[in-house]
Amino acid sequence: MGTPAGDPRAGSDARDRAIAALAAIAIGIQILEAAIPSPVPGIKPGLANIVTLITLLVLGWRAAVAVTLIRVVGSSLLLGTLLSPAFWLSLAGAVASLVLLAALRPFTPRHVGPVGLAIAAAMGHITGQFLLAWAIIIPHPNLPLVLPPLLLAALIAGSLTGILTAQVLADPRIQRHVRKPAPSS
């Protein structure tokens, strides 16, 4: 949930700048990650998701959507994959995980922390990608056989990014830039 402290219109410039900065960090992480060779194609840790989660928990839902969409478009521009299948897969995963994060929004500060959010987002991400791949890009009847290992990887990656998100949120250097501290109740 967002920042109930104060009028949301006040300081919208600062908010925009924060969104831009977070999106820039997310793009940087995504591009660094794209440069890391992966043992299995299609499996990567999704560290850029940490930025989405931090945005969600600190600036709120709309900011998280903005940061994520800017990240998807911006990183694809820099990687040269804009409008290619890789871009659509990335977008489908991002949208699916945002939908799941939106569904979890009512529980977010109190009952569900970064780890739960990250796991849900990772599972949603791979499911969205898979559905797009299966429906349009590779409509092969055997494709579901690839899904279980990908889901397992998403579970592991989601747990890791969730723990990392919690660590980052708890860091005083991050807290200093945060108007409202991470929900700790």
């Binding site: 922390g113 739960g116 796991i119 599972m123 889901l151 919690a166 708890a170």
Partner: protein
């Protein structure tokens, strides 16, 4: 530090996700190996479909003699065939979807089929 940050919702989501992963593995991989039907194709004849439900022996007459086919629940094999090199017999038990045994002298192929096709190959 992270220990105190876990809430019950996190545990619930983690458990649910693990259950989804497990279910996906079970659903995707368990039925794949089971052969259900033996398809017997002989040159000049309609293919015969024999369900692999109970143990029995079939004898198929061909140009070179008789091919004896053993069927057991979930698998089948070419037990005896007139070929001198025993190629048909050497195929062993056919139990995964798509496995084939061939007897050229009898112009005969045996193939088992399952419900879920297995992998032929995988590449990226």
């Amino acid at each position: 530090m992270t220990g105190g940050l876990l809430r019950w919702g996190d545990a619930l989501i983690g458990t649910l996700a693990a259950a989804i992963v497990l279910t996906a593995f079970v659903l995707a991989y368990s039925p794949s190996g089971d052969a259900r039907v033996l398809v017997i194709s002989q040159a000049g004849a309609e293919p015969r479909h024999e369900p692999l439900d109970r143990a029995r022996v079939l004898e198929i007459r061909g140009p070179a003699g008789i091919t004896r086919i053993e069927i057991e629940p979930g698998r089948a094999r070419c037990a005896e065939s007139p070929g001198r090199q025993d190629i048909c017999e050497a195929s062993g038990w056919l139990q995964a979807h798509g496995e084939v045994a061939v007897s050229l002298p009898n112009r005969l192929t045996l193939q088992v089929l399952g419900t879920e096709p297995g992998f032929d190959s995988m590449h990226y």
